[in-house]
Symmetry: C2
Subunit: 319 residues, 2 copies
Amino acid sequence: MQNFVLGIDIGGTNTVFGLVDARGEILANGSIKTSKHADISPYIDELASALNPLIKQVGSVAAIRGIGVGAPNANYFTGCIEFAANLPWKGTIPLAKLICDATGGIPVAVTNDANAAAIGEMTYGSAKGLKDFIMITLGTGVGSGIVVGGQLVYGHDGFAGELGHVIVRRDKGRPCGCGRHGCLETYTSATGVARTAREYLLNLPNPSPLRALDPNTISSKDVYDAAMAGDPLAREIFLFTGTILGEAFADFIAFTSPEAIVLFGGLTKAGKLIIDPIKDAMERNVLKVFAGKTQLLLSQLKESDAAVLGASALGWEAK
Amino acid sequence: MQNFVLGIDIGGTNTVFGLVDARGEILANGSIKTSKHADISPYIDELASALNPLIKQVGSVAAIRGIGVGAPNANYFTGCIEFAANLPWKGTIPLAKLICDATGGIPVAVTNDANAAAIGEMTYGSAKGLKDFIMITLGTGVGSGIVVGGQLVYGHDGFAGELGHVIVRRDKGRPCGCGRHGCLETYTSATGVARTAREYLLNLPNPSPLRALDPNTISSKDVYDAAMAGDPLAREIFLFTGTILGEAFADFIAFTSPEAIVLFGGLTKAGKLIIDPIKDAMERNVLKVFAGKTQLLLSQLKESDAAVLGASALGWEAK
């Protein structure tokens, strides 16, 4: 009986992994340092050794249905990581094959983190039973995973769903790490909120406890704390952020008409401060035929578990 | 053997229909007036009578695989037309059921015209063999049909793919028939091109043969004629239109990463005048990972046949 999957989330600093059952319980987990391996081969060796006790725990590889991997720039179709700027390995890395070979032939599927989050949410979280939804991750950047008819949208090349890089301010938009200007994530990621705070403090005369902080290290958490303490300027920053998100969501709805948009990531901790302006702007801007139809949901996966759970969910469909 | 389908395209003025074989040949066709029937019931009677000779031509209803219908606001899931402003019938009309009953039980599927065009293009046209593409129709409005993994995207409610109503100018955008401002179709439909011409003539000092025309009746065809005669202002209008389309397409690519965007409709007759600026703006604005990957294709369906062919293609999958 193949009642278990392994989920692996590869970040630039750490790789976390876990053994997961069909109900989404993490039975065992662990982590290794991604950053310490400049070469892929010793990294894979260390990863395989670290996975071994988890596999032994359920008997043998025969009990594992598959391994799902979430990693930056990971391509579902090719099984490769392709030119990931935040990982130590250069060029194209045949990740799925390397992990499969190193674990005695367990089927492996890879995709990027936001897609993994969408599959995790569909398998174990808020999107259980939903056939059409969009996952939006609001972290350092803005990621997305689009589900249509119960299937994740990979596009013809495996890279679909880059909604953090939809242009929301066409002229004089903020410069983005992607080399362009005005991308959604320059405004609505945690980093984007901090940028907004710096802009507001520079351009507006309003008093704010945020003025006591070093503008260069101000974080979205600082803005949240100030807003919760009643600072009108900090609230205005969340209103601005939520409005841009809601406007963008209204356009996303015109695309795939999802039943829900599921939000995940640090910024969602701001709760109503960010959710209410998103909802308002979304409903104010959406085409009439879609009005009131798309729910805004928060992820139900614990943040510490979500990366592993999301990746592991992909393991159920690995071939 | 069910080797034939019927395609019906319902417009506000005319309903056109045809008998189509598996290679996309229209073996017989005809039309009736939509606008003369304020009530749906006599309309269905006349339509059924008009279809009868086409059915007889291939023997009986047993030879017909299905009927596909393209109509404004037609919902694939419910089989109904819902509150279509341009049709004479009010409220919700159970179109699929009515046509099925009136034709002795032939399975009927309905969808909107742009979705029908996408299915037509995939079945008989430029998109044959493509699994991931976006159909964009540039007519009086801008319509779209999105195909992901070989399946048309209907969304959870049947109304997905309203890309003509994505907002491309958020502040001070042109008013749209949908009640909002700045929709893609207010700039890039045939009507949008005429609006641009009126704006340019009003706000710019440049001489142009277009100044000899009544601004209220100026059409995209007039702009095309002037551009072909070498008028720089008219060329500028196409450059403006194509640029907005290309910018929007770059965002669409970030959504579903299609292999191609297929263009259909009157405006595509402008050829390189409109295609070149679209390509330029699309490649200049697209996220790097997608650069050079998405083809821009023109519909291969004859404009006079396309509506019937598109609708008929849906007939093959009617249940």
